[in-house]
């Protein structure tokens, strides 16, 4: 069986979902055997390739580059997984929407809080223009599966990948995923509804 062509993409988020991906720990070594990571912030490819089997997209769509990127990702990928709350709902990345456009937010960071007060970095081919409204991924392209959580846990990501590897349909909601939560693999139903409330390990 040919190795699965796997990609991960990072738009406007905090990288916590990618860190949670790394929290699969030693499974990463097994993953290196069965899948080829063809594009990711963790590897050195600079262009999103064609013929990707499955892609995890972290983060919301915040600027014109994200917009361009996510369209390319959709066109070149068989299964697109909206990965974590920023991709799924906009989450913290989208809080700035309430302030009405990108300008007030930029002014606060670069004009009022800088010294010497420099002015806002000018959008160009180098510094991409911000969108006035941050969007979840599915507002721009079709999404195949949603994996909510801030971030989804390592074991949960592994569960999703294993389903892809075996070609099963991915219904992740049976795993008690919730917005803001920390999805857990099946079998932990006896725990409280959302594990994001602090629990001691006693």
């Amino acid at each position: 069986m040919a190795r699965l062509r796997l990609a991960t993409v990072w738009l406007g988020g905090c990288s916590g979902c990618h860190m949670s991906f790394l929290d699969m720990d030693e499974y990463l070594i097994d993953l290196a055997e069965i899948a080829e990571v063809v594009f990711s912030p963790l590897v050195d490819s600079k262009q999103y390739p064609e013929g990707v089997d499955v892609v995890l997209v972290e983060g919301a769509v915040c600027n014109v580059e994200h917009l361009e990127m996510i369209r390319r990702v959709r066109a070149n990928s068989r299964i697109l997984i909206s990965f974590g709350d920023c991709a799924v709902t906009g989450n913290v990345s989208a809080i700035r929407n309430v302030q009405g456009g990108a300008l007030p937010v930029l002014e606060r960071a670069y004009v009022e809080l800088s010294d010497p007060s420099g002015g806002i970095p000018s959008p160009s081919d180098i510094v991409p223009k911000l969108l006035d409204r941050v969007l979840p991924v599915h507002a721009v392209v079709k999404v195949d599966t949603f994996l909510p959580g801030c971030p989804p846990s390592g074991p949960m990501i592994r569960t999703a990948l294993e389903k892809v590897l075996t070609g099963e349909p991915i219904d992740l909601m049976e795993h008690h995923l919730s917005f803001g939560g920390y999805g857990r693999p099946k079998g932990s139903e006896h725990l409280p509804a959302s594990p994001s409330s602090s629990q001691s390990h006693s």
Partner: protein, 236 residues
């Protein structure tokens, strides 16, 4: 007391006259999702999550009295679809950011989304500008997270008897208010009893000083208080 016999999801159940469909179904072990409903408070049918099909009509089970030979369906595809839609619309109406909410993990809206399989929103978030009121020395109010279930209004009026809370404004400007829309800390009728915070289903009302996912709605204390008031029963 007359007994009514009705069919719920094809199962024959008996209920006492005057009971609502919701109460009868629950006694029979049939679970219907609710949000604005809270045992011991007057039902208002505000959230529409407990809609059922009774003799083919859509009715809120929290307000519909049982009737003889009623044929009730609680889990049809149409109902599931509506419930999911309602939850998505509630999320889209205000600014619910579960991950950084004081009620994360103790929120009825969040649990409903999970239970109903809401894994994303098909509706565009409205993103209204909402205030946060921290003027009360013990509690806080964040309109971003309010679902207008009016539990706070009812518990304050019916159980505490202070009627500090009410509702003002229409449409997107609808807000729960204290007294005549003063800051909560200036509301002279408020007894600081905290029942509204216990009753709130989301992170809209919280204990001041709560950090993310730390606010617990102490429902048990509230139910004990309601039981004591309504039934003159004290749990010791």
């Amino acid at each position: 007391m007359a007994v009514k016999t009705l069919s719920v999801d094809g199962q024959l159940i008996s209920a006492r006259e005057g009971q609502t469909l919701l109460e009868a179904a629950r006694e029979a072990g049939i679970s219907i999702p609710t949000l604005c409903h809270l045992d011991g408070l007057n039902a208002v049918g505000a959230c529409r999550l407990c809609l059922v099909e009774a003799n083919g009509r859509l009715l809120p089970s929290c307000l519909t009295p049982v009737a003889e030979e009623m044929d009730v369906q609680t889990q049809t595809d149409r109902l599931q679809r509506y419930r999911k839609q309602i939850v998505e619309l509630l999320f889209a109406e205000r600014n619910h950011v579960c991950s950084v909410c004081v009620a994360n993990g103790n929120c009825e809206l969040q649990s409903l989304a999970m239970r109903l399989g809401v894994d994303h929103l098909r509706y565009e978030p409205q993103e209204p500008e909402c205030e946060v009121d921290l003027s009360h020395e013990r509690y806080g109010l964040d309109h971003n997270r309010c679902v207008l279930c009016t539990r706070c209004v009812r518990v304050c009026d019916e159980i505490e008897g202070a009627h500090t809370w009410d509702v003002a404004g229409r449409g997107t400007h609808c807000r729960v208010i204290t007294d005549l829309h003063q800051p909560w800390g200036d509301a002279s009728t408020c007894t600081s009893c905290g029942k509204c915070v216990m009753a709130c289903p989301t992170g809209a009302l919280f204990h001041r000083g709560s950090s993310v996912s730390e606010n617990v709605h102490d429902r048990e204390t509230l139910h004990a208080l309601i039981l004591a008031r309504e039934e003159k029963q004290w749990l010791v």
